[in-house]
């Protein structure tokens, strides 16, 4: 059978819409995952034992169970509690929660890389502990954690492709429809594979350049 990619031209508005949805979901989950990651990282770094344990359980649970089950749990489980689930909102929620675990680990290693002298000198300069956190600790540790955070983000984009299983028409879901309509799954999926690959490749390339600009050595 001959490979033929020309039919994709006809479907490109549809695929573009799907790609837009993928980006929308990924960025939503990026923000949620980042915020949750910072919160959980701070919980794990705190001196309070209860907070520490909750943070540890949160991370270990999310890292040791598959994303797909978490997604299904939220999508089919939340209606039991009387909360209506929207596929897109649920997928952003599930992806964000899932991404918070690796993000937390990365941010925590950034926090741990900060030497004690930095705390002490900012105390000596008269900052309050919130100011130290906001203006000294967080920026420095995020700069250290930037590179692994971007690789987590790329991982998140790739993982977001399974949200089609809860009826979201993202890039993967649309491509499945196109494959079924045209009966040419090979061409469609290989096109989608390279679309994802090129997109994430560009992202990691940009991240590398940014990382070079903002990276610091302590």
């Amino acid at each position: 059978m001959q490979l033929n990619f020309r039919f994709l031209l006809k479907y490109y508005p549809m695929l573009l819409k799907g790609a837009y949805k993928t980006i929308y979901i990924s960025f939503g989950a990026l923000i949620l995952g980042f915020v949750l990651g910072v919160i959980v990282a701070l919980m794990r770094q705190s001196n309070n034992k209860v907070l520490k344990t909750i943070g540890a359980i949160w991370v270990e649970f999310l890292r040791n169970t598959p994303f797909l089950v978490q997604l299904f749990f939220l999508y089919f489980g939340l209606p039991e509690l009387g909360i209506k689930t929207d596929p897109i909102v649920t997928s952003i929620l599930a992806l964000g929660i899932n991404a918070s675990a690796p993000n937390c680990e990365v941010i925590r290693s950034g926090l741990m890389a900060i030497k004690k002298g930095l705390y002490e000198s900012s105390y000596a300069l008269g900052h309050s502990s919130f100011q130290i956190f906001r203006y000294v600790i967080l920026p420095v540790s995020l700069r250290i954690a930037f590179k692994p955070l971007t690789s987590n983000f790329i991982n998140l984009i790739l993982t977001s492709s399974v949200v089609f299983s809860i009826t979201v028409n993202d890039l993967m879901g649309t491509s499945k429809t196109v494959a079924a309509q045209t009966a040419r799954p090979f061409e469609v999926f290989i096109f989608i594979l390279f679309a994802y690959a090129i997109f994430t490749f560009i992202l990691s390339f940009v991240a590398k350049i940014v990382d070079k600009k903002i990276s610091i050595t302590l």
């Binding site: 169970t65 598959p66 499945k176 494959a179 090979f186 690959a197 990691s204």
Partner: protein, 220 residues
């Protein structure tokens, strides 16, 4: 009349056990094949010739930067149409996961080999080892120590990711949970059980990776 089907029964234990077996089987086989692919590709990647060392990138980069589910669909739905190769769901799951594991593992191999200083090779040669015995006695022990913790982390990740095979109609643990949820209408209980089962398999492994990392860590 249908109330009896809404409850979990004694027989569902066997359903879960069978599903666990499918998950473990697919994960273990694909890890084994993937490790071999990764070792071969990683060593080629580490060759001194720049052109040869770039060849594996053609295989590694697309697989690492694209979703596993696309690779699965490509093999399961795509190959029969294009090449007339009809694979069972199990076979295509194993092929896709092996190739995926191989791509990630070859990067680990490459990084671990790069982390071993050149002096180690030179010192080995100076002591009279030839290439093979140099690798066998000096490089390999360091290489294994460097790669094991990250390899276990990758394996755990592949176990999680193997849940994607439920989307190509293979009844693994995730799919079993899904089927039982649809039957019993009790997502909290069923997915709770599935969570626990996955956790029980993967948590000891991740603890082991952490303790091994501490135990076998060394600095040059």
């Amino acid at each position: 009349m249908f109330e009896q089907y809404l409850k979990l029964t004694y027989y569902d234990i066997f359903f879960f056990l069978k599903a666990i077996w499918v998950t473990l089987w697919i994960t273990l086989v694909s890890i084994a094949i993937g490790t071999i692919i990764g070792l071969v590709m990683g060593f080629i990647r580490n060759s001194k010739n720049k052109i040869i060392s770039a060849i594996p990138l053609i295989y590694i980069e697309p697989l690492r930067n694209s979703p596993l589910i696309t690779q699965l669909f490509l093999i399961y739905y795509g190959l029969p149409v294009v090449a007339n190769i009809v694979l069972t769901a199990e076979a295509s799951a194993i092929i896709a996961l092996s190739l995926n594991t191989g791509a990630f593992f070859s990067v680990l191999v490459h990084n671990s080999l790069k982390a071993i200083p050149k002096m180690q090779w030179e010192a080995g040669f100076a002591l009279g080892h030839d290439g093979v015995s140099n690798f066998r006695h000096i490089i390999a022990p360091q290489f294994i120590r460097l790669i094991i913790p990250s390899a276990i982390t990758l394996y755990i990740n592949q176990l999680q990711v193997s849940s994607f095979v439920s989307l190509i109609s293979l009844i693994d643990l995730t799919k079993a949970g899904h089927i039982l949820t649809l039957r019993t209408m009790n997502p909290f209980l069923i997915y709770g059980i599935v969570f626990v089962l996955y956790f029980v398999i993967s948590y000891p492994l991740s603890k082991m990776a952490k303790s091994l990392e501490k135990k076998i860590a060394f600095t040059y």
